[in-house]
């Protein structure tokens, strides 16, 4: 797990938040040296500023892969991370049923191991989660997350359009 704080003294996209924390995660559910599992309590926390948690979680969950048959171990393990994230709350950015890993062998099925979570401070800024890049030669596909300022919402009576109506 590795985090970077990006600071913008002018405020991110005009929002009051001046920092964005991005955490890169590579979960290997083993405690065999030199690896160790990272509990969800270390990944997701109550933060008042924007926080993105992105990475290869090596988890299967029905929310992103609803057609998958989960083992009891898969179910318990993924529920631990997803439930903790949703309780804080963090939003899942992945589009359900959009696979991120396509194994080369003909036995394994496609899966969603690469996940992206955003806390509620950054969720309004996430405009797109997509996979527009081609294969790099591995069985994973890159994910692209685009942050943009939310569309400026004008009061309905002042909105300019073909059926403009102004009531004074």
């Amino acid at each position: 797990m590795h985090s970077v704080d990006l600071l913008d003294p002018e405020g991110l996209f005009g929002f009051p938040h001046r920092s964005l924390r991005v955490t890169s995660v590579y979960l290997l559910h083993t405690n065999r040296s030199p690896y160790r599992s990272i509990p969800p309590e270390r990944l997701f926390s109550f933060l008042s500023y924007p926080h993105l948690v992105l990475g290869d979680f090596n988890l299967h969950h029905l929310l992103v892969d609803p057609c998958r048959s989960l083992s009891e171990r898969d179910f318990t393990l993924s529920a631990r991370y997803f439930d903790f994230a949703f309780d804080i709350p963090y939003d899942l950015l992945n589009t359900p049923r959009v696979y991120t890993r396509f194994p080369f062998d003909t036995v394994s099925r496609a899966s969603v191991l690469d996940l992206a979570f955003a806390n509620t401070a950054v969720s309004p800024l996430v405009s797109l989660w997509d996979m527009p890049l081609p294969s790099t030669g591995s069985d994973d596909l890159p994910c692209v997350i685009t942050l943009k300022p939310p569309a400026i919402m004008l009061p309905p009576l002042l909105r300019i359009g073909p059926s403009l109506t102004c009531i004074w």
Partner: protein, 87 residues
Amino acid sequence: MENFFTQYMDSSAVLLSFPIVQYNCLGSWDVYLSLFHSFTLLPHPPLLVVIQDPPSRQLVLMTFPGFLSFAPPSLAAPGWPFMLLVF
């Protein structure tokens, strides 16, 4: 570099878009280089690249032209995640 960033900003220099790429490189240099070269296919190249399991060469911090690397203090364990930020 100023010209590079203007595509992400409005006339008031307010950031309009912040693309991030997330990827597991599976410890492969070929995958790593292929990923960065594929950014030419995007309308706007990413400002931040979030990598898991980067390739390593004698624990040297890997980078790519135009990007600045941020990594944990220790790269002793293979597979550690790290990030590259455009500069």
